[in-house]
Structures are given as C-alpha cells and as structure tokens.
Amino acid sequence: MKAFAVALLVVVTACGQGHAIFNVDVYSFMQGTGKDTIPYFIPPATPTTVSTVQKITLPPGFGSSVVDSVRITTGSANLENTGGSGTIGFQLFFASDSAGTYTAPMALNIPATSVTGTQTVPVVITGDISGVVDSLFRQETVYMRIAATGTNSGATPVTGEGVMTALIIRVVLQDKVF
C-alpha cells in the first residue's frame, strides 16, 4: 500500500504547484462491515452514548503540507427507530489512534433529532471540521469515531439503530511532499 501511495505522491509532485484534494468516501469502507450501523438502546431517563470507530488511511508524505480545509461534504444517516420516544444526536471525533477518539475534542456536533415509535428519520451530517483536526490529516492514519447520543424522556426504552448512508470527507492540502 505504501508503494502505491508513493506512486500517487509522484503524480501530485509531478503536476506542479497547486492543491492536492482528496475526496475520501469513508462510508464505502464502512458499508457492509457492521461499522455503518450503530444500534441504540436508551433506557428511560438515562442518556446513552454508543459509538462506531473507523480507520481512515491517507497517502503518506504530507507531514510538511499545510492543511487548507477538512470538510464533511456529504454525509447522511437514517435513524431507524423501532420503539420509544426520545432524541438522537451525532458527534464526530478524530484522533491518531482508536483509543484517542474517546478523549479527543469533538470535531462536529449534529444537533439531536427526535424519534418516536416505528419510524425512519433521515439526518444530514455535514460540516467544516478544519482547525480541530488539521494536524491529523497530515498523517497516514486517522481514526474517526461516530457517537450517537440519545435521551429518553418517556417510560419505555428507545430502541433502534442509526444507519450511515453516506460520508465523504474532503481534505484540501497545499502539497509539500519533499
């Protein structure tokens, strides 16, 4: 993989001054692995957080580059609620290792969405995460944790699952690969 990534770097270098832009379809790597689904079970009056962690591999050699921006340009999930009434919000965390995502500052917060009974509620997940995670995206490996935080103000548990349907991260670098 390293050699292939280096070949990509050669292309970037050979193509002169400019930006290297990576549109990474993170969802495509999550799809079908189970990591695209976050089951939730929220007892009454007990806020609960459940998470899924995904590794993102980026081309090496951009350690000296300047990260212009990191944005989630396309992102969506379905809240497939199967019972109860409450709210579900999403938070995204990034770190250089899996464990670090549990202590990292929040990069993106998607406000809570209300769910009730048996229904599917779409949620849009987009936003600019520059600044919080710039240095991470100069590395070869970044871990992303998607946390679903739920509240339950009712008398019965809120159950269901958050199913990711799209997630594309756009990283814009001023390429300095020497």
Binding site: A7, V11, V12, G16, G18, H19, N23, D25, S28, F178
Partner: protein, 458 residues
Amino acid sequence: MRTGVVILGVVALALVVPRPVHAQFSLDARHIGMAGVSLGRDGSARRYNPAYRAVKNRSGGPGQARATIPIPLGLITFFQDHPPTHWGDDPMFNPDSAAFNPIELMNLVLNPPLFYELKQAPTPTNDIEFTIGKNQLILNLGKSRVLIPEQKFGLGMNGRLLDLGFGVGGVHFGVMGFMNYEIEVALDTALRRVLRDTVGVQPDSTYRILTDAVAQTGFMPTISFAHRLTHGKGAVGADSIENADDGLYIGGAVHYYLGATYARGVGPAGFTVGNPIFGAAPGVLLDARAQTSNKPFGTGVGGDVGVAWISGPFEVGFGINDLGAELTWSDTKIQRIQYDSAGDSISVTMTANHVETKTKLPISYLANAAIRMGTGTTVGGDVFNAGRHTVIHVGVEQRWGPFALRGGVARDQRKKMQFGFGAGIRMGSFGLDAGVFTHSNSLGDTRAMTLATSISVY
C-alpha cells in the same frame, strides 16, 4: 542544502537538455529569425557532414558572420525576478517553499532564460483531485492532464558537444565529445485514460507503464578526410574560378569512441487492483533491469560519411553519422529492481557483475540545401534526425544593402509547426540582429514565443 542540490541539478540538466532542441535553440538571432535554419557553413555542417571540411568558409561575405555574440536580454529579466542572493528563499529553487513547482523548474531547464520571452508557456498550476472509495479511484489532474502524452513518449538526444582539432591538407585530426540519451515511456491505454481522461480505475484491472532509458557519454578521437572531387565554373560573388566553391565534395571520418560512462534501465512498472479496488492493498508491479558501467572507457569504432555539391547559387549536402557505432563496456553490473510485496519495499539484487555489455549510438543524418540568388535572397532548409523524430527547417533571408529581413517555418521533434521571423542591420564589421521564434520546449502543449538578439562580427 536541498536548494543547493536543486540548483546543481538544474545546472547539470541545463548542460544536457538544450542539445536536443539545438535546432530550435540557437544563440544566433539570424538562425532564430529563420525558425532555426542555418544558411551559412557553420560548425554544425562540419560536425555532421565531413565533406564540408573541404568547403571554404564564406565568412566575411554577405550574411556570413565570423562570430556571433548573443545579447542576453532574458537574463536581465530573469535575475531581476530571481536575484541569486535570494535563491535560497526563491520558490523557484526552494523545494521547502509551498509555492515550489517542479514543472516550472523543469521548464526553466528546457528553456534557459537567455533571450527575452515575449510569451511564456504557462506552467500547470492547478488542483489535483483524488476520489478514493473502497471500490473507486478517480484521478483528476486538471490542467496538468496535458503533461500526459497521448502516445508513446520519447525524449532523446544524440549530440556532438565539441569539435577540436587541426587539419593538414584534406586530413583533419581532432576529438569530439558525444552525449546520447534515449528515454522512452509508454503508458498502456487503460492508464492513459485514467490519467488523461479522468476515467475511474476499474476493479480487477492492471495498469502498466513501460520505460526504456539509456544514457551514455564520452569522447571520440577522430580522423577525417575531405576532398573536392570536381571544380565548377564559378559561383556568385567569387572573384575567380579558383576562389569559387563550385564542385562536388566528399568526406569521411573514423571515430574511436571512448565512453566515459553509461547507464540503462528497462522495465515495466504499474499496479494492479482487485475487486473491490481497495478491498486489499493495490499490488505494485515493478520488475526492472538496470545496467551501469563500473569503469569508463567503453570502446568502439564508427564512422561518418558526407557529400556536398555546390553549383553556382545552389548548394546541397548530406551527412550520415555514427555508422556502426557500437560501444563495448568491459566492466558492467546488471541489477534487478523488483517490488517486494511481502515487505512493501523495493529490492535491488545483483544479477551479474563485471560482465561485458554493449550499447549502440543511433545513426543520425543531416541534409541541407540552399540557394543564393543574386538579388540578395537566400533560401535554405535542412532536415536533421538524431535517431528520433525528424526536425525540418526552412528559412529565407532577403538583404537590401545593410538591411536584412528573415522568416522561416520548422517542424520540431514533437511534430509541431513553429515559426520565426526577424530583421537585421549591418554597420561595417558589425551587425545587429533580432529574431522571434515560437517553440514548444516546455512541458505542456502551449507554444511560447521568444525574442532573440545578437551581434554579428563580419
């Protein structure tokens, strides 16, 4: 430190690269104004056609300068924009700078800034976009797609860098330097479409690039003989039959090649992807062979032959060079360069050492013709091939007393039409000439236009 390495590299490349574009890149504004054609009997004619050693120089005559001194207007602009004292911080030379652009640097090498650039070829500066998914890989090179060749891409040069010696009668003893490099790169159709047409990489596919590169240099002690076989009746401007150039000339030269060093690399490279594309790490394909000389003095023998015929205002010449030039390198090492998928690394293994290998120099030829009319008009052309694409120049010069107007067209190594025009004025023993020419010496498809100026000494 790295800046120094870059500058050193630029200087080294500058010594090497301009030679293949010699026909387009001349220091004489008169040649440039005629799109590269030379109507005089300058050093190039003698270097590539030994028969011209028996032809008298017409120096001092109309349009035949003894020497040419270029006026480097381009250097003034260049050093204003890039003061040497700031090269360490100059994005042009400093790889640490975010604005450093290797294409711009390469274009500088290909176009030494001696003359004034009326229109510079644009340097690709744009965003390169990669779309990466588990089953998706799309490379959008933007404007830089023009750098991807549509067909097999080759760079080559077979040049004679110096010609020193002396003559006794028709025999000439001398030494020439030679430099030859050939780089051929072929992308398979699938890879070309990925890079040039922004077509996505397909699952279960292989993408290849095939490279064959050789470089060799050295010098060659030479003995040549040239003789005037027949004498004609006279020539325009000649004051007597004895002083006329008319006649048939033949020449031949034998070279003993002494190669200083050589290197050759041959091999396919590429990558293969599975289904889905990033289901597993793409496989890297690399299995190349490298040959390098351990010691100098690869030896060989070759020769040139040439003929020239002058009749009144007409003149034609034809020379063939490096016939049978094969160099034997007695001490060579051969290495195999492979990609090791297990270690995700490149391994270099010695296949053979201290073995004999051979290289060839490509046969080159120069054909030239000119007609000098009594009305002050001279028309000429040449065809030059140094083992790669043929370069053709056609030019005309019209003189009215001290004034001259020039124009010409050329087909360059990239098979592109180029144009030149210019003018000059002669004042006694000196002349001032200016020539404008188009060229495609930059990486990219856009033509540039350069103004050359020079002083001629008659």
